[in-house]
């Protein structure tokens, strides 16, 4: 690290260190590679602007919080905050491909699903507020406190969202296995 107070250089190093985390979150939220690129770029430039006010605690959670907000703004049309009940998502899943998602890659519907396809599909159908908690916990391995900061919700809410997400996933996977 440079000892000279070069804020932009500090920020560049910080952004580089957490860029994969930022991209992974964006990609799972918007589920489109090009849009995820845009979200991350936009988020990083905003972060640079706010860097002066950053207190220095947990840079990754701070960056992810900005990425998440940018992604949600881009997804505004999609009722981002709404979450389906367990029953709704399960019945949607049971209805099969009736709700085909245009963002899904075309071959996904043709190929016989291996584990990755299955988990992609299941995660894609999770309500956004559940999916983001799950991705932050299981893929980014954030603590409850960090997740609460990123998604701007109380820890208790994070816990219950995580629980619903995991329960849905486990039950949906059982249904998939049973129906194949």
């Amino acid at each position: 690290m440079p000892t000279r107070p070069t804020s932009a250089a500090d920020f560049a190093a910080l952004a580089a260190a957490h860029l994969d985390s930022a991209y992974n979150l964006a990609r799972w939220l918007v589920r489109d590679p090009a849009l995820a690129d845009d979200v991350v770029q936009d988020a990083m430039l905003r972060a640079l602007k706010y860097f002066g006010g950053f207190r220095g605690d947990n840079a990754r959670a701070w960056l992810l919080q900005i990425v998440r907000n940018v992604a949600f703004t881009r997804l505004k049309g999609e009722a981002a905050g709404a979450s389906s009940s367990v029953e709704e998502v399960l019945s949607e899943l049971a209805a099969g491909s009736a709700t085909h998602d245009s963002r899904e890659e075309p071959e996904a519907t043709l190929m016989r699903e291996d584990d990755e396809r299955l988990v992609q599909k299941l995660l894609a159908r999770l309500p956004l507020d559940l999916r983001e908690c799950l991705v932050l916990r299981e893929l980014e391995e954030l603590s409850y406190k960090e997740i609460a900061r990123v998604v701007d919700a109380p820890i208790g809410t994070v816990m219950s969202r995580l629980w619903r997400a995991r329960k849905l996933l486990a039950e949906a996977a059982e249904m998939e296995v049973a129906s194949s």
Partner: protein, 263 residues
């Protein structure tokens, strides 16, 4: 909500699964899971979902995106420099990048405890009430003979100090001067997720247990006597402690015991 939390401690099982519980909380939970099929299923589902997620890719930023951002930061630097200069704390006060650990364990334990406490309060109507817990504890202790008494002694000067450091309060321990009631010993049990001191007395062919923990406003409203699954329970307060006695003795016999104990 009902389907999601068949047992209100499911979220604590999850917190344990995510490594967010301290050792004492985790230990109490293991105890609970032995008794609770809902929580055992919850743990199974957690494992199932995690196994599934191992197949989920962790996407990484492309080199092109990295370059784009590096260029963007450079370009914005000139424009942002003024802002940074005006509002930033001196850079040397900012932690170095290396010191930002991936997981910073700040005050999250207490935050989690607060969340868990809140959860218990919110879900209390659905959790087993204290009486049911005591009966369940009593039955379990009777079934597992070795679990009934952790300190075997009829001497209250032995039993009372044994509790020191095991429960965060000083329980009332009395050796009853009566041939009818003999102090057998004591143990620590969990009630409402917190440690309780338990005294075990032999009364003829019956066992009487006395559970003690610090009294709180919440338990004060509970009934002083009740019957549950063939067991009799008596509740009172003494020296700031909530005291419950549980036994399969008849209501009259238990009243006599309590009267004698309280003299």
């Amino acid at each position: 909500m009902n389907r999601e939390f068949a047992c209100p401690r499911a979220l604590l099982v999850q917190a344990d699964f995510d490594g967010e519980l301290d050792a004492a909380q985790a230990a109490a939970l293991i105890e609970h899971e032995r008794e609770c099929a809902h929580c055992r299923r919850a743990r199974w589902q957690l494992g199932r979902s995690r196994a599934l997620l191992r197949a989920a890719p962790r996407y990484t930023a492309s080199d092109e995106l990295r370059e784009r951002i590096a260029r963007g930061v450079q370009a914005a630097d000139g424009a942002a420099a003024a802002d940074l200069g005006a509002s930033a704390a001196p850079s040397r006060d900012r932690p170095r990048l290396e010191s930002w650990s991936r997981r910073a364990p700040f005050g999250w334990v207490s935050a989690l405890a607060a969340a868990a406490a809140l959860l218990i309060v919110v879900l209390l109507p659905r959790s087993p009430d204290v009486g049911s817990q005591l009966v369940a504890n009593h039955v379990r202790a009777m079934q597992l003979d070795s679990h009934l008494i952790d300190v075997v002694s009829s001497d209250h000067h032995t039993v009372k100090p044994w509790f020191a450091g095991k429960v965060p309060f000083a329980p009332l321990v009395k050796r009853l001067d009566s041939d009818d009631y003999v102090l057998k010993g004591g143990r620590v049990d969990i009630v409402n997720g917190a440690p309780a001191a338990v005294l075990v007395y032999q009364a003829g062919r019956h066992i009487v247990e006395l559970y003690q923990w610090p009294a709180s406003a919440g338990t004060r409203a509970l009934r002083a006597s009740r019957q549950l699954d063939g067991f009799n329970l008596r509740r009172w307060e003494e020296n700031g402690l909530a005291i419950w006695s549980v036994s399969d003795m008849s209501a009259e016999e238990l009243d006599r015991f309590v009267q004698h104990w309280r003299q």
